[in-house]
């Protein structure tokens, strides 16, 4: 079967800086792939090129064989910050994404309600974003990006700004949702354990210029529960990925990437 997303020789320069050099990567339909790497390795840039928010300097991205010309509703994006519209309630924020859909008001309300329930926010429909915790805000953002059924979900360090406990909850939630409602996901993170826990495949990127260093299929059984993190295989995979990054970036700053996933400096080029 043809890949869902094909990244073909994509390069990106910002002036004299080469942010991405020759990226080739395919995502299969309904595959969950994580991109890991230190800040500045270009992983977020690559994601925004796939989203159509930036144009590559060279190469192209194909979705279902068609070149990406700009952003579109076939590709949902979850940003690092929840990016909720503060003047709309949780319900209103989800409905906002449904405005383009051919459905009546009642149906729209119903669909939004269902998706808020999916992310565990029943009872918070009428809450404003300012009344929600960071984790709950990101849940609304997730519901918003799922409700209009994009075939591809692009997630740019969506849990990077959350505290460790909330982050674990969100990883479980996302895994659970993905295991029941399959779709193609590209998930950018600098937390290797997070990547191993939720992904089918982890792609490692290295910086200056950003390129793909290696990729590993994560052959852990599904459904994945938190207990899997005490599985020796889990640690084997995480360790070997981390070693790969450390070797490659010894001249760089290997400490920027931590195994526990402490967020480093948010970096828009990262």
């Amino acid at each position: 079967m043809a890949p869902k997303v094909e990244i073909q020789a994509v390069a990106k320069r910002f002036g004299a800086v080469e942010a991405l050099a020759q990226i080739d990567l395919d995502l299969q339909a309904n595959e969950f792939v994580s991109l890991v790497g230190v800040s500045g390795c270009g992983k977020s840039t690559l994601l925004s090129i796939i989203a159509g928010l930036q144009r590559p300097s060279q190469g192209q991205v194909l979705v279902d064989g068609q070149p990406v010309e700009g952003p579109g509703r076939d590709r949902g994006v979850v940003f690092q910050t929840a990016t909720l519209l503060p003047w709309l309630t949780a319900q209103g924020n989800v409905e906002f994404a449904l405005r383009g859909e051919p459905m009546g008001r009642a149906e729209r309300r119903q669909v939004a309600r269902e998706h808020l329930a999916l992310v565990g926010l029943t009872g918070f429909e009428e809450a404003w974003p300012a009344q929600l915790s960071g984790g709950m805000q990101q849940r609304v953002a997730l519901a918003r990006s799922l409700c209009y059924r994009p075939q591809i979900l692009l997630m740019d360090e969506p849990f990077g700004a959350l505290d460790a406990l909330t982050r674990h909850d969100m990883q479980e939630l996302l895994t659970g949702i993905w295991e029941t409602h399959r779709l193609t996901v590209l998930f950018v993170t600098h937390d290797i354990e997070e990547a191993v826990f939720i992904s089918d495949r982890v792609v490692v990127m290295t910086p200056r210029p950003g390129r793909i260093e290696s990729a590993r299929v994560i052959d852990l059984a599904r459904p994945r529960k938190p207990e899997i993190q005490s599985d020796p295989r889990f640690h084997e995979l995480a360790d070997s990925l981390l070693r790969g990054i450390r070797q490659q970036s010894q001249s760089g700053q290997p400490d920027q990437l931590s195994q526990t996933g402490q967020p480093d400096q948010p970096d828009r080029t990262g």
Binding site: S48, A51, G52, L53, G70, P71, G72, R73, R75, G76, V77, F79, Q80, T81, T83, L85, P86, W87, L88, F96, A97, R99, G100, W128, P129, A130, Q131, Y148
Partner: protein, 263 residues
């Protein structure tokens, strides 16, 4: 010895806040009264609070105060509404498009630094001394500041919100009207509130120089007759009007932006 606990920025009750505020005013008026009744200054330079109040009451009874206030409020309202309408149309475009910004922002920045007061004689030559000249001065003093503040407010909308609109397949107009403008609206409202305060200054400046009626006009006339009680009374009324307008804008803002509160 126990070290006293730091009390920086400690919150106080609404009642004590009000009490302290009122206290400041009471002390100020008491000082004023003491100085004037003690005969320290001549009544011509500084009439007593009682005399000012009496004069004001007299003007209120005769209807003159009401006429002056309503004329001034009419002028400021129209001048300010014209400026605001233009700012709300042009500002967001300047904030969203680099082309529109390049077209207007350097120009407006330049005009903004020209003293509006210096345009008063010119505007009188252009449009005379009737209401249109007042609108023009208020507009000049308000619009060029306001439009840049509105543009800035729109520019400060996080890029990720714009990106959100794009990934949802929204067009430029929809992103502007459904995301950027509402996202910037609290900041814009603040800009409108602040510039309304400035508009009062321009109104009085325009009325002081040449007018038939209005608060500033009455002050100029009073000066001719050394009626310092009228001048001070009118200045106080101007301060009160400004305060009332500001508080009304604040209250509307509080009602509109309830969603910003965390509970």
């Amino acid at each position: 010895m126990a070290v006293p606990r730091a009390r920086v920025r400690q919150s106080i009750t609404r009642r004590s806040y009000l009490a302290i505020t009122l206290g400041t005013f009471v002390v100020l008026v008491a000082l004023w009264a003491a100085v004037t009744h003690g005969g320290l200054v001549s009544k011509l330079f500084l009439p007593s609070p009682g005399a000012v109040l009496e004069r004001l009451a007299e003007q209120a009874r005769s209807g003159q105060l009401f006429d002056d206030v309503s004329l001034s409020v009419y002028r400021i309202t129209l001048g300010y509404v014209i400026a605001t309408a233009m700012s709300l149309l042009l500002g967001p475009l300047m904030g969203m498009s680099k082309r529109v910004e390049a077209m207007f922002e350097p120009l407006f920045d330049f005009i903004r630094y020209m003293p509006v007061v210096a345009f008063v004689p010119l505007t009188i030559i252009w449009v005379g001394i009737d209401d249109p000249q007042k609108f023009l001065i208020i507009w000049m003093g308000t619009f060029f500041q306001q439009v840049l503040m509105v543009a800035d407010a729109v520019r400060q909308v996080p890029q990720s919100m714009i990106h959100l609109g794009e990934t949802l397949g929204m067009g430029r107009t929809a992103i502007l009207t459904r995301i950027a403008f509402p996202a910037a609206w609290p900041r814009i409202w603040d800009a409108l509130r602040v510039t309304l305060g400035w508009a009062w200054t321009w109104l009085v400046v325009a009325e002081l120089v040449a007018a038939r009626g209005g608060m500033g006009y009455r002050i100029t006339v009073a000066q001719r007759y050394f009626a310092t009680d009228t001048i001070i009374g009118y200045v106080i009324v101007l301060g009160l009007l400004g305060l009332i307008f500001d508080q009304v804008m604040r209250a509307i803002g509080r009602a509109m932006f309830r969603y910003q509160r965390s509970r």
